[in-house]
Symmetry: D2
Subunit: 341 residues, 4 copies
């Protein structure tokens, strides 16, 4: 059996641990050979491969990033892209393909699967917003980085009588903001699932000062204020930071400062949340995802992806990954709301 492996989409701590789990399990237990495809879908599209054997995965467990590289190349948008992938897989005598990625990467995987390619998926999203799995690897590491930043801002906030705004990842779902905000003891948590009223945020901030303590506001980079508060000409930048002058966190910081008169500092965590050594939990989860992806290949369960339920690793249809995303339930958001005051 020859199995191709690729990693697509954004960087995410734990990708190397998945790759290592796949290769060690496959080689040791089933004698598989592996073909590494470089830079996500670009690899099978252009036939760009790399050696993927036991020595290649030595020592990569604690390392962030992916030895296979990644990209956002979308073969579905390229004339004849999917056909070229199928031809290249055949040319490399690849019997099955393990795709590690998020919504987009697994969406392509799903289409190839429907067209008869033997595919097993491994879900990946730092934002933890994928249906069909309790947790995804990378999320715990990102929450840890964000929580450490809140811890650090606390001491500055205490000494300086200043508002601190921290922008964390969370394009469509506020999981990182909610977990890190609760773990770090933030006073206000703003998420994409619930539009916020800048005036109300300012009132919270002032209430905190009244009880003699500096407030910390955590905001997901996909959060938005209610209609009309964000001026047209000041459109915040998108996920890739390219369209506007400010991120939503920077905008909020300026609004708080001008509306309350309180000195406000904003920190945008950015890519530091996606890099570095994965946490113990992420390495554990990623390794087990890798092992179980090979088991799915061995069982010929094409068109599935691995998923986690408590301590169990299950297989669910690939389509689960591309259905609607998993957002923070308003019930949970309200539950943690006790700490806004």
């Amino acid at each position: 059996m020859r199995v191709g492996v690729l990693t697509g989409g954004g960087d995410c701590p734990g990708l190397n641990a998945v790759i290592r789990g796949i290769v060690r399990k496959g080689v040791q237990d089933y004698g598989y050979e592996f073909v590494g495809y470089r830079d996500g879908w670009r690899g099978p599209l252009e036939g760009d491969t790399t050696v993927l054997d036991i020595p290649a995965v030595r020592g990569i467990l604690p390392r962030g990033g992916t030895i296979l590289g990644t990209s956002r190349v979308n073969p579905a948008q390229i004339e004849g892209g999917l056909e070229r992938i199928k031809r290249n897989l055949a040319h490399h005598m690849v019997d099955a393909l393990i795709c590690i990625g998020g919504e987009y990467t697994l969406g392509i995987a799903q289409r190839l699967s429907e067209e008869g390619v033997n595919i097993v998926g491994v879900p990946k999203t730092t934002d933890n917003d994928l249906n069909g799995t309790d947790f995804t690897f990378g999320f715990d590491t990102a929450v840890g980085v964000a929580t450490e930043a809140i811890d650090r801002l606390h001491t500055t906030a205490e000494s300086h009588h200043r508002v601190q705004v921290l922008e964390v990842m969370g394009r469509h779902a506020g999981w990182i903001a909610v977990h890190a905000g609760l773990a770090g003891g933030a006073n206000v948590i703003l998420i994409p699932e619930q539009k916020f009223d800048v005036e109300q945020v300012c009132r919270y901030v002032e209430r905190r000062f009244a009880v003699n303590y500096s407030p910390i506001v955590v905001i997901a980079d996909g959060a938005l204020p209610v209609e009309g508060q964000l001026p047209e000409e000041d459109g915040t930048r998108d996920f890739f930071g390219r369209t506007g002058s400010y991120s939503i966190g920077e905008w909020l910081g300026k609004e708080i400062e001008s509306r309350t008169g309180k000195e406000t500092r904003t920190t945008v965590l950015g890519h530091t949340q996606r890099g570095g050594s994965p946490s113990a939990f992420d390495r554990y989860l990623a390794t087990r995802f890798g092992i179980n992806a090979v088991e799915a290949v061995h069982a010929g369960e094409w068109g599935t992806m691995v998923s986690m339920r408590a301590e169990e690793i299950l297989r669910v249809p690939l389509a689960e990954a591309t259905k609607e995303i998993k957002t923070v339930p308003l019930e949970l958001y309200r539950e943690v709301g006790v700490f806004f005051g």
Copy 2:
């Protein structure tokens, strides 16, 4: 409503986060008053209380330990112990008691509950061996400490051609060993659920050297060799380190060295696994346990304890905690076994 709170049993990162969650939720949303009992069951037994209000819980979220103190005092073994507790609760006009603790602490809670005391439990075990909940707080922190230690031993192992043995917590269940061992890339993982054969461990160790790499062995402190390998006169010490000369990890290290002739170093992590700032996950889980314990009090659901299922916090009967413990399934142990080789 006046609510007593106590923490019993061993130390565990996240206890303060539970206490803070309880007090902030109870005071802000329901106007409760709280009575802190000192040192586990010793507090209500001797009527030893401490102030437990909003200022008392300020800043304790990221701190290990418990501001209430803890002990292993067992009122069930003291003549009239339970009666004295009931009298003291009445004397302090306490309407309900929130007990944070493991098997023993919640066992007493269960008995008092049966005798009509209004009790809500919060499960606590660093070993993660409690039924009725996916995870308990403190476990993730301990796994993190153990994984970091394995990371550190790896580099020494690589440079020095030596066997490294790491003893981690796990009296009755090997969860920490399995999680940290997999996350850290250990070569052998030994747990209480499965007796090990020292000869087989030595063969693994030698096989690792054959592929030119130094082996790392992770052993839970409750793991034991098969019948006959542990000499009578060399009985390993118990959990509290007092009965024998060696811990099981130290014994194993000496056996490996004498049987294989390979220099072997043993590190016993001990209490460093139970202290320090809780991880982001543990703070999140502990805070939500605290909030939901207050909700259980508010709902009058006596005799229950809070528990976690994915992102949901549920209530299960207190008795769940004292039923048989949750051990590592052999299926999981075998799954991760690929990395033994």
Copy 3:
């Protein structure tokens, strides 16, 4: 002996360790009483004090921030400010004042000392740019935070073929950039001591891509390009982030992206560098500064500040702190330059 203590200027990890060192040494060895002044010079100016005894400093060693608070209030710019301070010190029966702060705080201390107030200084600057001492506390912690961020960016850079720009503290001196840049293996390090040519930076960046690796650029927030490269209307923001649209790091990131066509991400570390638990080195240094400040008071060596030379703590004239700042020697900058290529 009654001794006042104050902390002025920006936040800095280790302030609490100094305070604790002062109080424990003073109370235990010399029976001193202490008066804590709140928020830097605002405290003695307005007579705002707080209790400062052994219980007040319990547990603060590992904590960032300052229990005394801090501010940038400048009594020299307030009509009769210095006189009011002297009156308040007399009113509180304070025999000597220990001032913990940077250039500005110690500049005021120097003037009060010249006017006969018994003053001992403790130097503080996260940027490590103070003359008269090998190191200042807080610097090692900031370098650690910046280095960890570079480590994290490396893995993203490797996976994604992108330029990463990291802006770190360093208003007038590039010590943090040089230390963290070297420790983290950055490819370009830009500091205030040497104006940089954007074109040359772009050529370095392109050269890195040519050897198949993504470049990391570390820039101190006080670094500037050579004359004419920074457009008038795009003036970068000042230290407090308020005058312009971009920080220098953000500006550089945009320039690199537009000039090289390579996707570029910028992370501004900001206040996370000043907060959080101080590193072991900073706690050690800060504690010894505190102990030795009390020895200086005991010896009546007014007008001096404590300073570090290897393992020795010395006393130097307060004026040392306010002389020209300690910048990175061009020789050292050139030495580490090997790693630019």
Copy 4:
């Protein structure tokens, strides 16, 4: 120019950073070729070499251990050992040798240098006990690991009313114990430079309990009690843990428990102090040592080793390393003594 490189003695965080600094500086600035010798002096003794070029050192900066391996092989104790080394160096056409190691490794280097071999040394000792340099790399990382352990023990100590003993490295000098003990807020610090009286330690411990707080005792593994307290038959184990039943820390823990009746736990940090990613300071120092070792080779300054004075890297005679070791001055030990009480 062909330059050999070897690393000898115990493991130490930063060795890889030195190697990387040497190779990048040598190749980029002077076009040197390098020969890596494996496992300390065993390499040149047996002619065992490995490739050492730019790709070989890629990514090793943040990694502990040494890619060259290390050993305690002593060619001076092998018949004709030094002659064989000289022959092998000539055979490999090695013009100069950079030796990274401690007292023993540099002692051999010194002898070879006297016999005409072109040698430059880089000092290495985790214990920081080498003369002729302010600091050695690896020390800061070890102090960080020990301080984090003390932080963790504090929370357990607070909750449990127990004595905690922590044994850290320090065979002949107590630098790690003093730095980590002060940084962590230990109550008693015991070092090899000053024999301790077990009775006095017990009195300190009891005094701590009297002020309602659990004591933490830090002891260097080379510390010893005053004459007569250590029973003959209970001789503590040596540095390599092989001669006796207990380490000195374990012995002390048992003594405290039996003499005071207070429950006592001992943690022996062991090899976790020598492994793992080096701290930012150690990476900076190690990289600069590497760069400057190449400068010393370029300048033909044979028989010297690099050394650190504040921010300057100097060259001192190799013999400095093998003169008497640098111990903790009693004055410093007394200074920090304020915190014993």
